[in-house]
């Protein structure tokens, strides 16, 4: 099931200077820590002049769409899914 949201979320990241890559490591959601097993895709878009980075990441059981606002450096959780049909 896919749930569309727009809520603040805590995300732990690392930055690898050799690859110049930011990698989300964990998502803290509803008091539970979900280690990120895989970053499926990373893309960007602009709304007005504000640049947003979107990380599509998966824990063992859940998928999270995490959006970073580069103006405020705040993360939002925009989608959560278990990969199963509705």
């Amino acid at each position: 099931m896919i749930e569309k949201l727009s809520l603040p979320v805590s995300v732990g990241i690392t930055f690898d200077h050799t690859k110049r890559k930011v990698i989300p490591r964990w998502v803290l959601w509803k008091g539970r820590l979900y280690p990120v097993e895989k970053v499926g895709f990373h893309h960007t878009f602009r709304s007005g002049r504000t640049l947003f980075h979107v990380f599509s990441v998966a824990s063992k059981t859940l998928f999270f769409r995490l959006v970073l606002n580069t103006d405020t450096l705040a993360w939002r959780l925009e989608e959560i899914s278990d990969g199963l049909p509705d």
Partner: protein, 419 residues
Amino acid sequence: MDYRTELVFNKKPSTIMHLDLNSCFATIEQQANPHLRGKPIAVAAYSTPSGCIVAPSIEAKACGIKVGMKVKEGKLLCPSLIVLAPDPWKYRNVHLGLRRILGGYTDKFYPKSIDEFVLNLEGYPAYQKGMFNIGLEIKERIKKEIGEWITVSVGISPNRFLAKTAAGLHKPDGLDEINRKNFKDIYSNLELTDLCGIKTRNAARLGGMGIYSVLDFYEAPYWELKAAFESILGYYWYLRLRGWEIDDVAFARRSYGNSFALPKPLTTIEELSPVLSKLVEKTGRRVRRAGYKIQGVHLAIVYRDGASWHKGVTTSKVLFDSRDIYKIAFRLLARSPYRRPVRELAISVFNLLPEASLQLELFDDIGRKEKIVKAVDKLNERWGDFVITPARMIGTKEAVIDRIAFGGVKELEEFTLNT
């Protein structure tokens, strides 16, 4: 053109490569969400039961789900189908990634749509690697640089048409060449309708001349094809099937337009005008951003019962302000003779004029108007689309959402120019 009609298959080496991203939107969604991989999924314009499926995954295609089906039809065929809404920026980012990769091999690469590219490697150093090796290298780089789930079918040939045909031979993840040595073998395994551009009506035309297979089509003399198509198209097919180039034509943009499929049936002008206003705002902004003014407006309406109505007008005044375009579009809407539930509303503007000095008017201050429009555009660009809008657009928040057009790359031109 020199109409030579005694041609053999082109002896030129295969320098054209066609790349086709397999099940584009669905594959990208599976790339983004690893939990969806290996499952039947479909990207649909709307996830409601009557929403139109725009991209089924390879697994969904195996269940018989096709592009254009309704979501409810897809779910009947495959109850475990997972339906997703389109995410245009995700697909545009993949498109840009592909452009980055392909641009390293040749300057002559042409995006044909969001998921199709044509490369001409003739005369470029990369050609020395060999076309097959380049195809394999591109596939590898896509997996490494864009995503491991993304696959492309690659076709190689002396011309664009046969390169596209070759790319369709083994989907997904194919790599095939059609050249003067193997074309007859390949033609003998294809149906006429496997050729891009030949569907039932053209197949019937050809059948009328006794042409029933691709091999018949190839072997038919020019006069037979001319008689079948009753136009220059017969000669174009004569060239295509012999590996000669006829499709390397780029058409200039002649119009800008936006359309919206209404999720609920609206009938009256009062109901439709806010949606029309949003369509005009969007189109107007795109035209101005591209540096054009216009002298023509066209409105098309498709009704729920399948009927349609359209009307275009050429204006004497040069237009650039969305408010002026709206006035004309609204007049067109008011002139539509039918009051039935509308399924789709489409606006387009034509007679594009590159930025030119404006004719001053006696009563209107055109210079001031242009400054105001530019200021509003700047505000919208700075703070996001539709920050400042006409009041008549109130209530259209979910209408005219961001979409990727199929079949053309004109919209992508704007997008890539602005990134």
